[in-house]
Symmetry: C2
Subunit: 294 residues, 2 copies
């Protein structure tokens, strides 16, 4: 018999992911703190608590904002671990701390359940289209069992290692993306103030070793200062916080991540947390009293 599936967290990411599972034929049992969002979901059974989701599911997916929410849904009163059955798999697709992931995984094991960490990238568009990149940490057998679900929700699905490593790779990913945006921003402001058209800078740099996906995907946002998200500054700031905390736990020095994290903090404090992360550019522009292309 096919696994029954629970889904907890029906926000901007979780809702379309759950909808894709329903469309693929899964009978979902769902829970959301704001119950209306769960009731909006056609074809799903709404549970009264995370515990009730767990009691009725072989695989329980969580898609939540950050570590505290995942801890609450799993460990809190009427939480998943109160209802989870022997042999069930908890699949946390949130982006949270790999250190907390390992702790939660151990607590799940005490109940006879196992846990996968399976953070995603690709944003709300990827969630709607079912093309998310999914980085999975945990046991091989659990990965194989959840794989059909991942293939509904995502495009590139990679099992990267044991518990926690999905989150570690996601943190590594967020480091490279943030630092690349910062690098491109410094290059654009220097080049523009030095008299070069910004689009020409991107054209030339894109053809060589400096080439990167950020310059392609964020090209229009950078050139037009159209910073509608996309992926918000405040979420990227949260993610670099996870990376830095993991570095502190593992004993890894992340000097430039630390600097860019501070820059994201500055952007948040200046009221730009809701903008796309490519708005890092605006901080270099302000510091240099120069808007590119002007």
């Amino acid at each position: 018999m096919a696994d029954t599936v629970g889904f907890i967290g029906l926000g901007i990411m979780g809702k379309p992911m759950a909808e894709n599972l329903i469309e693929a034929g899964y009978d979902l049992v769902v829970y959301n703190r704001t119950r209306e969002k769960a009731e909006d979901l056609d074809g799903a059974t709404v549970a009264e608590s995370p515990k009730e989701v767990a009691e009725n599911s072989d695989i329980i997916i969580t898609m939540l904002p950050d570590s505290p929410q995942v801890e609450e849904m799993l460990l809190g009163e009427a939480g998943v671990l109160e209802g989870v059955g022997e042999g069930a798999v908890i699949v946390d697709m949130s982006t949270i701390s790999p250190v907390i992931t390992e702790e939660l995984s151990e607590k799940a094991a005490e109940k006879g359940a196992s846990m996968l960490d399976a953070p995603v990238s690709g944003g709300d568009v990827g969630a709607v289209e079912g093309t998310l990149a999914i980085m999975v940490g945990g046991g091989e057998e659990d990965f194989e069992r959840a794989l059909p679900l991942f293939e509904v929700m995502g495009g590139a699905v990679t099992h990267v290692g044991p518990s926690g490593t999905g989150q570690v790779v996601k943190a590594a990913n967020q480091i490279v993306v943030a630092l690349t945006i910062e690098a491109v921003s410094e290059a654009l402001v220097l080049g523009s103030k030095g008299g070069v058209a910004p689009d020409k800078i991107l054209d030339v740099l894109g053809g060589g070793l400096a080439g990167n996906k950020v310059m392609e995907v964020k090209r229009e946002k950078l050139l037009e200062h159209s910073f509608d998200p996309g992926f918000r500054i405040e979420l990227h700031h949260k993610d670099l916080g996870i990376a830095l905390a993991a570095g502190r736990e593992y004993g890894v020095t992340l000097p430039v991540t630390a600097v860019v994290d501070q820059m994201l903090e500055t952007l948040k404090m200046r009221g730009r947390g809701d903008l796309d992360h490519s708005a890092i550019l605006t901080l270099i522009e302000e510091s240099s009293a120069h808007e590119i292309g002007s």
Copy 2:
């Protein structure tokens, strides 16, 4: 009648570039401070001084290590500007300061000559194969005149703006390359110490917004710690010095470039200036007491 061509500076880059021009049918007049290197060049006429090169050439190409050498060859005793004819074009293909480039361009104009700055990327392999990327600053007419030569020496040739802007774009390029190597290094060390195989990190990150050319081109060097250059740390450190000096002149804040510049300084002081720039990785590894993949 076709332009006669002079070439000054026959080092690891200049020599193969000059050879490609000779092979394409140009009669070169050449000068090199160490005369033997000039005499080694088959099919070229060796001049006694930069002045003599200029006296016998419509287009004078320079390919030298840094600003002081270009200044010396152009402005020094028996330098290019003592011999340059009315209407000649000086094409400086070295990577030097855009600020000094503009000064030299003005001095050339006083002699009735003009100047292009045309720094390259693509390294010694690109120089040998004639596939260099060439970023050109200066007048449109001068650019068109030198274009046949650029097309012999390079692949992608782009006229980016007025005098100095070729150097500005090169500086922007070097910023993005150095910061990307640093970003990938932090990601690799965090990921590896967090339990993920380094090749898997590169695979996953390469498929999304974190994707960049550095992870492709430097993959083996990073994974195998095989840091034969390639492009040397000490040259990249020189280039970031140019970028930072240009930023200071133009009033552009480059906070992360400044940090990575310091890291390159550290690597030089630790005796690794001769390694490929991807050896930035070793600094993060040392700081974290962890070699990736171990």
